[in-house]
Amino acid sequence: MIKLRFKKEMQTPRGKELLDLDLSIPSGEFITVFGESGAGKTTFLRILAGLTQPQEGFIEVDGEIWFDSLNRINRPVQQRKIGVVFQENNLFPHMTVRENLEYSCGDKSALGTIDEWIIAMGLKGLESQKPDKISGGQKQRVALIRALIRQPKVLLLDEPLSDLDMHSRLNLQDEIIKVYQKTRTTTILVSHDLSEVFKLSKKVFVIDHGKITKSGSPQEVFVNNDVSGKFKFTGEIIEIHKDGVINILTLSIGNNVTKVAASDEEIAGLTIGSKVIIAAKAFNPLILSRL
């Protein structure tokens, strides 16, 4: 179980704001922290990792106290046994893929698992390549193995997929699910991508202006309960076009682009880039053929 509550003043584009969090995460859970840029998501991960110190608070992980401002306890980052994958891959540029993984291994038993991980993550043949010779998706795979190979107590994923193209992103989402099911490591994913939140986690915490405003399953948090659609998708608006009395929204849903009609009231406050959920009621689809 991770128990944490802390306060930390943050510098944001809007000025100084207080990150004030109090939450518990059961061991072995996969949760996401969702919020806009500057909401405090990354600061939250940095505080948990020990890279940033809060003004006051308490952090306990599986019975070990990592931070306690009252008793002046602050366990150094090296002793927190965490695995972190950042948005910008931080592979060491002078080391090969294998050397990056070896550097992470604390003991010989971990060294013995490198080949197993390399094969499982589809990196066979790339072991002797330097990071600048492999693709963005492959780099993040290496970073993920590097974080997991030392069997961390908590895996922290700081928007690790946001720099990847859609294809790599979907593949890596599947890989993350696969390794989570294999290792059952307590995982905290920071994301501002709704589809990712829905796909990966059972529980989401929404941070806004430094506070948790909502928490629950992605369905409970993001889907308006009075809509009971047979089909629900999350998508991103890529175009808003006025056509007579109605508006045509072009949406990107997964790998597909679709158009839906919406009234002026429905699109109030929406702009290109807004994330929306579309639902259809009383809809009986026809399955035309198998792909």
């Binding site: 990792a49 890279l51 150094p76 980052v77 090296q78 002793q79 046994k81 965490i82 695995g83 972190v84 950042f86 910008e88 931080n90 060491f92 540029p93 002078h94 550097y103 992470s104 604390g106 330097k130 600048d132 590097r146 974080a147 030392r150």
Partner: protein, 222 residues
């Protein structure tokens, strides 16, 4: 034409000893300046850079006074049988102080430009500051280290004021190439002075040429 290779050999011996000492000293000083949160570190930074602006004779003068047997430090060392002024030891101490910024400043720049994210990543992987320095930082700032080594070595070869003040002009002991050139010109032996000068020019050119060539290749590695 009379000439003696001793001043040249002494110059390169001094440059080598000074560069080794400066590397051992410069790396921890640069590391401390970059990563320490001590609010007085700017004083150390200023002291390290003083030789860049002071006339070499000023540093030489203070060293001469400090190590003079008339004063405490010189007297104390003298009682231990160590003579600093007008000795090779004095040359080494003066040169180390005078070339310190040429070693510290490039390494400092290399450390300042090194991405903090990679250091934090190494910490997250459970590695200590020492492991991170040895395995992550140093291999990636090799061009800065090489710059510090070459600059300290080349600058020591080119010293005159400090070494003349603290070392004097004792043949085989403190007469360096730069002092020998001055000596030969004073004695109107222009041929010998010209030979020493030409040898210094050629060697300095070769060192810098090799450095720029190697550094270009190194920078292409990543």
């Amino acid at each position: 034409m009379h000439y003696d290779l001793q001043p040249l050999l002494l110059t390169f011996r001094l440059a080598l000893v000074v560069t080794v000492i400066l590397f051992a000293l410069g790396l921890p000083i640069a590391y401390w300046i970059v990563f320490s949160r001590n609010r007085f570190k700017y004083i150390v930074e200023t002291l390290v850079s003083m030789p860049l602006v002071l006339p070499p004779t000023v540093i030489g003068f203070y060293l001469l006074i400090a190590f003079s047997p008339k004063y405490f430090l010189g007297h104390f060392l003298g009682s231990l049988g160590v003579r600093v002024v007008f000795s090779f030891t004095g040359l080494v101490i003066g040169s180390v102080l005078f070339s310190l910024p040429f070693m510290v400043n490039p390494i400092k720049a290399g450390l300042q430009n090194f991405p903090l994210a990679l250091i934090e990543e190494s910490f997250c992987l459970g590695k200590s500051s020492w492991d991170t320095l040895r395995s992550v930082i140093l291999p990636n700032i090799r061009p800065a280290l090489l710059t510090g080594i070459v600059m300290a070595f080349a600058h020591t070869i080119g010293e005159f004021g400090v070494v003349l003040m603290i070392g004097g002009n004792i043949p085989k002991e403190t007469r360096l190439a730069s002092i020998a050139i001055y000596n030969e010109v004073e004695a109107l032996n222009y041929d010998t002075a010209g030979l020493y000068a030409l040898i210094l020019v050629i060697i300095s050119f070769c060192i810098l040429l090799a450095f720029y060539y190697l550094n270009r290749k190194r920078l292409n590695i990543f």
